[in-house]
Symmetry: C2
């Protein structure tokens, strides 16, 4: 056996047993100590290195746990057989990221902090973290916190005409997450076909695609999805946004809604109603949800808090009809909740205190002013060039811009002055670029000048 | 045309235009006003009802938006054709949940608030909601907040020997969510086979099953998964927990780790290393991660904060090898982030301030004491009957109980006195019930008495 030559660092920075463990590990890994070789006894090595037996034993134990050495009763410790250690070299730590600098960046986009009262939200969150912190020592219910589901069932009834019990509600971290659950439920029902709006909300279609669903894209007219083109004679589901179609903003009239319900009933199919921001209708009252017209068996209602609280909150919910509720209850323990329990409980308190309703009221008034200011600015600076459509609801305006420029370039130009604009490819043609303009993010007092600058850039 | 007989409620509770809108909607829905019927002009109806023209116009506009009436230029307003409204009656509001009572429930399980410093956490969260609230006006990066990924890359290097850059890290709301991403990545690589540990962590297997993967269950021995039984000649992935196998607690020795890496290299396959709570090793230092032995191309490393912060936090992360990082970057915009941005930023501050490291240190000391107290209690009250195994790491103890009782009954008995115990079916045989006992949730000063009571119940 080769002698163990180890100079301890006695500065106290690294425990002696760790130093000994690292030395022996390196000797074994690089092959200087060979498989089967006997190690010195605890007593012997401790004496040679002038350390305590406990220190040596701790080092040997760590090597034992990690498998670098083995022990044979009444015999001693031996180097284990480690094949392949020469081939693999751990990555160079120097290749790791430079840790010396990181700061929270400011946003390159305009934003409006008056859209949400973070102080009141913080108070509710503080209550959760002090008065209810014991609840955070347990995982959230896969279906969502009962307190929040209770508040949602009250809210959707009073504001959207949706009738349900809290046990029909499933909370998830965003519409994609809820759609994932729906895919699981539909697969159990042997439904493999989904129809979606064209143009429509793409993030949801990615989920259907990932789960292997056959997707039929159905064109959208001024009065919503073309019902006569929906699949018949096969059970399926149709994903619609009847109260504020994304991105066109069209509203499905009540007569068409009944036709859609009739289609679902006749074909043993389901309507997935995405009601993502219908609370935000500025002139007149919000259009009631389709779910409220149903006798409650064919419509899955989906709602979200991103537009009415703040965009980074990932809390969405769906209301299942009774039959699907039962199926979901039988399978929900297979899945963990993705939505933050702290934020779910915070939102429950925020709603209980009436602050959510106050916030929506404030947003309706603020966004109505922003919309009117934006419309006036487009009329003044972009008349005949950039025409806003869909200006009575939601957090964006669809702009039709008379240009042959690439819409992506227009979006880049807007981004360069901090304005968030996305291309609406399906509404774009040769002479007109269609764009989704997030007017809501721009502070009211910057609206006119921002639009003037944006149009100037586009006309260059 | 029938006369419009409407008694307004002038109390101010409901705007007049809403009252008129509701009245007309009801008349149309129940068929008292028929499709095609002409409505009175704005001027005429306003005069008849003694209300302003604006009020009447608001009511008509709402009916127009919702599709109950149509307007013809130069002619007036007409009742729309609504087929099917008779068939569907909206659900009875009385069937809705009784909203009169809801209170946050206390837990029926024991819990230990000394496990986590919610006051310090709250301070970090308050900083996010005041100093960085503007960041919450934008959605989180699908890959996770850069600030958090930066802190994680520092942490996994220093504490687990994992070398990576922040751009290799993906943050998600729990291991199931990250596994969902892995399924998407593997499908793009035409990998359709997964091997899992038996016994192993079931929630992850549900995700592989949902995505249509072929799953091979590989037995686990004392030194980890049986490598010789892994699939060969076909690209696949193996899901392992080498540093604290769930639920057996076994540690894969370094020699076997190199063999596993060799298997992955030879078969063009991947190792999914779940390192969920390996920081929590109480006697000696934690076993370094397998990822650190790899040259960085075959191992996906998965970590979680549930055991080291608090169970309700849903923040997990994975470290992708460079090739998978590139693939992920190309597809990530298809998906939204499920993990709370507020909590991600809070955790970044918590780690930056060194509080995370402090907390792990505190947990190591607290849980070591709890484990020793628990072991002593089992020796005193359950000798020869209930034997704890796997008592050097993690947040649970595997108990082997000599009984022919149904393990589910033992769990119920434990739950009746607030103790969380789950059956470990795969380790149970005719004469021995294997149970997963979450000792960490029980306050230290209640440990001995809780175990005494639990054993007494089991022996009844």
């Amino acid at each position: 056996m080769k002698p163990i030559m180890l100079q301890f660092d006695h500065s106290g920075k690294t425990p002696l047993y760790i130093q000994l463990y690292r030395y022996l590990k390196e000797e074994i890994t690089c092959g200087r100590m060979e498989a089967g070789e006997k190690l010195p006894s605890l007593r012997r090595l401790s004496r040679d290195l002038s350390i305590s037996i406990t220190t040596t034993e701790q080092a040997y134990n760590q090597l034992l746990v990690e498998g670098y050495i083995t022990s044979r009763p009444q015999s001693g410790y031996y180097v284990a057989s480690i094949v392949g250690s020469g081939v693999y070299s751990s990555a160079d730590p120097a290749a790791a990221y430079d840790f010396s600098t990181y700061t929270f960046p400011d946003s390159s986009y305009k934003y409006d902090l008056s859209c949400f009262d973070f102080i009141k939200w913080k108070k509710c969150m503080s209550r959760v973290l002090t008065d209810y912190s014991h609840m955070l020592l347990f995982e959230s219910d896969p279906q969502g916190e009962p307190a929040l589901r209770y508040e949602i069932s009250k809210y959707v009834y009073s504001s959207r005409g949706v009738t349900c019990r809290p046990d029909q509600i499933v909370v998830g971290a965003g519409t994609q997450q809820l759609t994932t659950h729906l895919c699981r439920i539909m697969k159990r029902m042997d439904i493999g076909h989904v129809a979606t709006e064209d143009p429509g909300y793409l993030p949801v279609q990615n989920i259907f695609r990932d789960h292997g669903f056959a997707i039929t894209k159905i064109p959208v007219a001024d009065d919503g999805i073309r019902i006569e083109k929906l699949p018949t004679n096969i059970p399926s589901a149709v994903y619609v946004s009847p109260s504020n179609q994304f991105p066109t903003g069209s509203v499905m009239p009540v007569g068409r809604r009944y036709q859609l319900l009739e289609w679902a009933r006749e074909n043993n199919s389901f309507i997935l109603e995405d009601d993502y921001d219908s609370e935000l209708r500025y002139f007149g009252k919000p259009v009631p949800a389709l779910q409220g017209l149903d006798s409650g068996s064919r419509v899955v209602y989906l709602g979200s808090f991103s537009s009415t609280l703040f965009p980074a909150i990932k809390i969405s919910y769906m209301v299942l009809p009774p039959a699907l509720t039962e199926l979901w209850q039988s399978m929900k323990s297979d899945y963990t909740q993705t939505c933050s329990k702290t934020e779910q409980l915070t939102l429950a308190l925020f709603m209980e205190d009436g602050l959510y309703y106050t916030n929506i009221k404030k947003l309706r008034s603020l966004y109505a002013q922003k919309l009117q200011t934006a419309q006036a600015a487009f009329a003044r600076y972009g008349s005949g060039f950039a025409t806003p459509t869909n200006t009575s609801s939601g957090i964006n305006i669809i702009l039709k811009v008379r240009t042959r420029k690439d819409p992506a370039l227009l979006c880049e130009a807007a981004a360069s002055i901090g304005i968030s604009v996305l291309p609406a490819a399906s509404l774009t043609d040769q002479d007109t670029a269609a764009l989704i303009f997030y007017y809501n993010q721009i502070p009211l007092d910057e609206m006119e000048e921002s639009i003037r600058q944006m149009i100037e850039l586009w006309q260059e």
